[in-house]
């Protein structure tokens, strides 16, 4: 699957721009704050209906404008073209359509055009608080399975409803006690489905990251692994509902005192280790970097395996964090049939040219103040 063309209108600092993309590698060279990342954000938005910078629609409109529009044409594995239209206006709100048909549930688009991004913000996955790791697992799992996304959204809704009931109990409204049970039952069912899927995804990730880490960390003998740490013990995937039920019963008293749901997948964590050392607290800068790239490469491979479709790869400022030779090696691991969008500085451009890492076969754009110019091949 690849993105063959893209039209951008009034998005961030990009006024009006039409792109034709190469199905393999597309490079975008320019200094900082010229619009490279904005382009990646637009592509990501077409794939997942949300920004990887967690931006709201309003702030993505170009200054002085009232709306932005994105129009992307994807070519699927069977060479059938799909058109995604994304329109946000201050008055009209958001409108998305696929092949001319309006999409009302944005979640139905997730997974149809799989995407993996690597950007500075992703360093939070190994460095940051648990919610960053849950976010990573959620985006990956949702692209793998629409059922997971639907279960997760229902679960989150149940948690909110249940917290409201617990809040009433906390403030002394006894009648709310009788309502708690029905939310508990649903919490268990949907929560168990989320836990079981996360468990499976972590098993699959572990099979991939070790190998990638060995290559990326220059043959490091250490083993990179991820462990799922749900708030409840799972001995066998089959008895998750029972374990969850017991954990919930144990925490009922405390939950009523605190007025909120204290156990369940909304409080899960995932622990990354290099050998026996937890990466988050004891990892060196280099280890974090190699771990993150291994994780992202595994994410792409997992999507490829599960969906039988190559995800789009958005690699933001790849060379800033890696030396250029290693950067090329990383690219080789990553690409594997995927279409790549790579942003880099003008400085990287000069260096890449001397190592002949890029040549005229690859599409190259130069970016200045939101204007992208295609490098004319062979002229």
């Amino acid at each position: 699957m690849h993105l063959s063309s893209l039209c951008i209108d009034s998005f961030r600092n990009i006024e009006k721009q039409h792109f034709q993309f190469n199905s393999e590698k597309n490079y975008f060279f320019g200094d900082n704050a010229q619009g490279k990342t904005n382009l990646l954000e637009a592509i990501y938005l077409l794939c997942l209906c949300k920004s990887f910078r967690s931006a709201v629609d309003q702030e993505m409109i170009q200054m002085g404008k009232e709306e932005y529009k994105l129009n992307g044409r994807f070519m699927d594995a069977q060479n059938i073209e799909h058109e995604v239209l994304f329109h946000y206006g201050q008055r009209e709100g958001k409108h998305i359509s696929l092949d001319g048909k309006p999409i009302y549930q944005y979640s139905s688009l997730v997974g149809q055009f799989p995407v993996v991004i690597l950007s500075v913000a992703d360093y939070d996955i190994t460095h940051g608080p648990p919610q960053q790791r849950r976010r990573f697992i959620n985006i990956l799992s949702s692209q793998c399975s629409p059922r997971y996304l639907s279960d997760l959204k229902e679960y989150e809704r149940i948690v909110k409803q249940r917290n409201k009931v617990l809040g009433s109990i906390q403030s002394g409204k006894r009648y709310a006690e009788s309502e708690l049970e029905v939310w508990d039952e649903q919490l268990l069912q949907k929560g168990a489905a989320v836990i079981m899927f996360r468990h499976q995804i972590v098993v699959e990730l572990n099979q991939l990251i070790q190998n990638y880490y060995r290559i990326i960390a220059w043959g490091s003998p250490d083993i990179f692994s991820v462990t799922y740490q749900p708030r409840i013990d799972i001995l066998h995937p089959g008895d998750v509902v029972d374990q969850f039920r017991m954990a919930l019963q144990r925490s009922h008293k405390l939950e009523k005192m605190r007025g909120m749901t204290l156990v369940g997948p909304h409080r899960d964590d995932f622990v990354f280790k290099i050998g026996e050392r937890p990466l988050r607290n004891y990892g060196s800068r280099g280890e974090h970097k190699s771990a993150l790239i291994s994780l992202k490469a595994a994410e792409a491979t997992l999507l490829r395996q599960r969906l039988q479709v190559s995800p789009l790869l958005l690699l933001d400022d790849l060379y800033a964090e890696l030396d250029r030779i290693r950067g090329e090696k990383v690219m080789d691991i990553f690409s594997d049939g995927s279409q790549c969008f790579i942003t880099a500085t003008s400085f990287d451009y000069a260096a890449l040219q001397t190592t002949q890492a890029i040549n005229d076969q690859k599409t190259q754009f130069f970016v200045k103040q939101g204007i992208f110019t295609l490098k004319n091949n062979g002229s």
């Binding site: 629409p146 229902e154 409803q161 249940r162 409201k164 309502e179 939310w183 039952e185 649903q186």
Partner: protein
């Protein structure tokens, strides 16, 4: 922007209180109505007034009706041993269209949703209990298959189980007429989950 006519301003203000109608849409509606013949507008106004004067809730099933009890509750040919519990009057209309269901209904008037301040006491649950005399043998729970509808069904099960009635829940599955090939994955995976032994 405000209008020089206080009447127009008041109409805009009232219309914009309706769900899904912002000030802009309300203005559009008011100007549309101003251009219509007076007779048409009168018919509309009367229809709105009649809503409150003529339409009431059936004192048995809480469906909307103009006569009490409603035509379904007063129909002796319907199966008095079967009650189908739904959230809204709209659901009765949908089920009646099928022509399949010959029992009675009970309209709860919504679903449990603590976030919206709706608990069992805001729904016609106690009223359902008072209807369960010896005649009724089966209750079909036909609340929506979403989080709130599911919670409401579970709550009713808890409430009704001691009465030793037959309790059933409508199945969720693939819409008839839709090919399995075209059903969305979520519907499909739930249909498989809810499969029955033949």
């Amino acid at each position: 922007m405000r209008y020089s006519s206080e009447t127009v301003e008041r109409a805009v203000h009232e219309l914009s209180k309706l769900p899904g109608i912002g000030r802009k849409s309300a203005q559009r509606l008011v100007f549309f109505l101003l251009k219509r013949p007076a007779e048409d507008v009168k018919i509309l106004a009367q229809a709105l007034l009649d809503l409150h004067e003529k339409v009431k809730y059936c004192s048995i099933c809480y469906n909307i009706t103009e006569q009490d009890p409603c035509h379904i509750c007063s129909d002796v040919h319907r199966d008095q041993s079967l009650i189908c519990v739904v959230e809204e009057a709209n659901d009765v209309v949908a089920l009646e269209k099928t022509g399949e269901f010959k029992g009675l209904y009970h309209v709860l008037g919504g679903a449990m949703s603590p976030l919206d301040g709706i608990g069992p006491d805001n729904l016609k649950m106690r009223e359902l209990l008072t209807r369960l005399t010896g005649q009724v043998h089966e209750i079909i729970l036909a609340t929506n298959p979403n989080t709130e509808g599911e919670a409401t069904a579970l709550y009713l099960v808890k409430l009704l189980r001691p009465l030793e009635l037959k309790l059933t829940r409508i199945a969720r599955g693939i819409p008839i007429g839709a090919d399995i090939e075209y059903a969305d994955e979520i519907t499909l995976s739930r249909a498989i989950e809810g499969r029955v032994t033949l």
